[in-house]
Amino acid sequence: MSLERALKRSIQERNKTSLQKSPRKNQAGPYKDIPLHLQIGKYGEDKAEEYIASIGYRIIARNVSCRYGEIDIIASDGDEIVFVEVRTRSIGWLMPAECTVGPEKLRKLKIAARIWTEGRKYTGFWRIDLIAITLKECCEPLIEHIKDITEGIL
């Protein structure tokens, strides 16, 4: 299936889900009534989406979940679909965000991405990127973009 048709279908799905969810969301506001660590995660994902859009990727979907886990952002980079895993770290963490994606997480990401592509009969190129966001006290958060994190693992 072509990229265009895959995109169209996901946009339809997003509209469907947002219609169902939006009333409740609007009442609660984007960051209210959820625990702090989830708020940080959500903030990071929003930042990542902004960043991705700023470098010219087209956002296809957010928070697509399946039984193997959730894909934070699905975007398209030219003719290639990019599955983005966003990791956000607040101040005080010793371990950098990019180190928190281990082999098990990668395996799950790959399966989830494969389910998504196969569900849409998409046969083109795709890859998995990591966006690591480190929050700072005084200035804008640091955004690091690591492309194709499964590349070295053959």
Binding site: R114, Y122, F125, D148, T150
Partner: protein, 504 residues
């Protein structure tokens, strides 16, 4: 056939390996199929990094098929072919003529030298293909005639060349030159030992095997090394064979017609000498082909090694059979063996007394089996020099190596002229049927030989070896037929005193 091919080595022959690449969508992944060994499978990491260095980013599922599928592929020399194959699919590179690509890739896209460039050149010539090879391999390939080969420094240069942006340098054919090897030691530096020097001359002229027996310090090793200075130059055909073997093992090949001289320590294993190993490599006996294999302390070699030498010494080639395949390597060596007459070294010495026990002597002598001694044409005993001879430091002793080398060269030319129609280069290779037909003996020589044979027991092989040596001696004196004195001299080397200690 696809226009992108690499090679893999089977013995000393190159087998063309076609590289097919398919890239489909999906997550990035490279797989190599077609019986790759570890080095070929690791090529995907090198290829990926090298392609990245020239701006080709790989993505999707990359499937690389190396055909024919049932031939095991070995070595890093397929790197370049794989990289070009991928670039044809994804990088917009076009290979117009069928070409062979060999070379190991560095991560930054440079090309490293490989073993097997000369076999690849032969294959390219045979098929009429272009050959792209690393700069460092250009020298050896330049000796092969009629090859359309290009020197490649890096992957970037190659792609620019294939796109037509730049022109790579061709490998120009150059003739191998012969500058006479530096004789070290020179014959004139060796005192006395006239018999041994004569035997070395005969051995060099006719490519005959030689056994030197003598007490410690009598100069066996010195004499063997002096042989290097009198060997005749390699002919074109021989040079190609030597080049091919050297390239197969990755020994640096140079453009000189010097014969190989391989000196092997007695701890060598049978595989090291005869060839083999998991990836099938030629052994020392093949590397020394058309040259000298020097085995010092001959009886100290393990029995396996010595007995393994029997067949190659007779046939001039060695068939190595392993699970991974069977290959035939050339093994036309001039073997020089040196040994002491007994463990203490002084048996038969006029001054020193031998202190070996009879059982020790027996054991030592049993190490040299009859069959192996039967294959050595010239048995020479090296006597210890008298004190007066040793002290006479002034002056040169006898002819210099260059004089002897000239004689040897002439004798070898006579042999080549005589035998070239049969594909033989030296007297030692004369097959039995030609020996009976071509080596004519006069009636009186025949009589003498008959008498001699009644006295000394010679095997059938022993006799033909004596005849071959007589032919060489006759050639050295530029005589057309074998005369009585030639046969007598040849016989004396075989059944002389050198091996008297063998008989208890």
């Amino acid at each position: 056939m696809n226009s992108v091919s690499g090679i893999t080595l089977r013995g000393v022959k190159a087998v063309a390996v076609e590289v097919e690449v398919e890239i489909t969508g999906g997550l990035f992944n490279i797989s190599v199929v077609g019986l790759p060994d570890a080095a070929v499978r690791e090529a995907r990491e090198r290829v990926r990094a090298a392609l990245r260095s020239v701006g080709i980013m790989l993505r999707g599922r990359v499937a690389i098929n190396l055909a024919p599928a049932d031939v095991p592929k070995e070595g890093a020399l397929l790197d370049l072919a794989i990289a070009v194959g991928i670039a044809c699919v994804q990088g917009g590179i076009k290979v117009k003529r069928p070409s062979l690509f060999i070379g190991e890739l560095a991560l930054d896209g440079r090309l490293r030298k490989v073993r097997g460039a000369v076999p690849a050149a032969f294959l390219a010539r045979e098929m009429g293909w272009d050959l792209y090879l690393p700069e460092e391999n250009a020298e050896e390939v330049s000796l092969v005639e009629n090859v359309s080969a290009w020197r490649v420094k890096s992957l970037g240069d190659l792609f620019a060349h294939l796109k037509g942006d730049i022109e790579l340098a061709r490998v120009e054919h150059c003739e191998a030159e012969y500058d006479p090897p530096q004789a070290d030691p020179d014959f004139s530096d060796i005192k006395g030992q006239a018999v041994a020097k004569r035997a070395l001359e005969i051995a060099a002229a006719g490519h005959h095997n030689l056994l030197l027996v003598g007490s410690p310090g009598s100069g066996k090793t010195l004499l063997a090394r002096a042989l290097k200075g009198i060997l005749p130059p390699l002919s074109d055909e021989e040079l190609m064979e030597v080049l091919l073997l050297r390239s197969t093992v990755g020994v640096k090949a140079s453009a000189i017609r010097e014969r190989p001289f391989r000196s092997v320590h007695h701890t060598a294993s049978a595989v090291a000498i005869c060839g083999g190993g998991s990836t099938l490599r030629p052994g020392e006996i093949s590397l020394a082909s058309r040259g000298v294999l020097f085995l010092d302390e001959f009886p100290e070699f393990t029995r396996d090694v010595l007995e393994a030498l029997r067949q190659p010494l007779e046939d001039g080639q060695i068939t190595v059979s392993r699970a991974s395949g069977t290959v035939v390597y050339p093994a036309k060596v001039l073997m020089i063996a040196a040994c002491n007459p007994c463990p203490c070294g002084f048996a038969g010495d006029p001054v020193e007394h031998c202190s070996c026990s009879p059982s020790a002597l027996d054991r030592y002598r049993r190490r040299l089996s009859g069959p192996i001694l039967d294959r050595i044409d010239l048995h020479i005993s090296i006597p210890r020099l008298l004190p007066e001879e040793l002290v006479s430091l002034e002056g040169k002793c006898g002819e210099s190596s260059s004089v002897v080398a000239e004689r040897v060269r002439t004798a070898r030319e006579i042999q080549v002229n005589r035998w070239s129609e049969y594909g033989i280069n030296s007297n030692s290779e004369i097959p039995e049927r030609l020996l009976r037909r071509k080596v004519l003996l006069k009636p009186e020589v025949k009589n003498f030989l008959l008498q001699a044979l009644n006295r000394v027991r010679l095997s059938g092989r022993g006799l033909s070896r004596v005849l071959k040596v007589s032919r060489t001696i006759a050639d050295l004196s530029a005589s057309d037929d074998i005369k009585l004195e030639h046969v007598a001299e040849a016989l004396s080397y075989r059944e002389g005193e050198a091996l008297s200690w063998m008989k208890i």
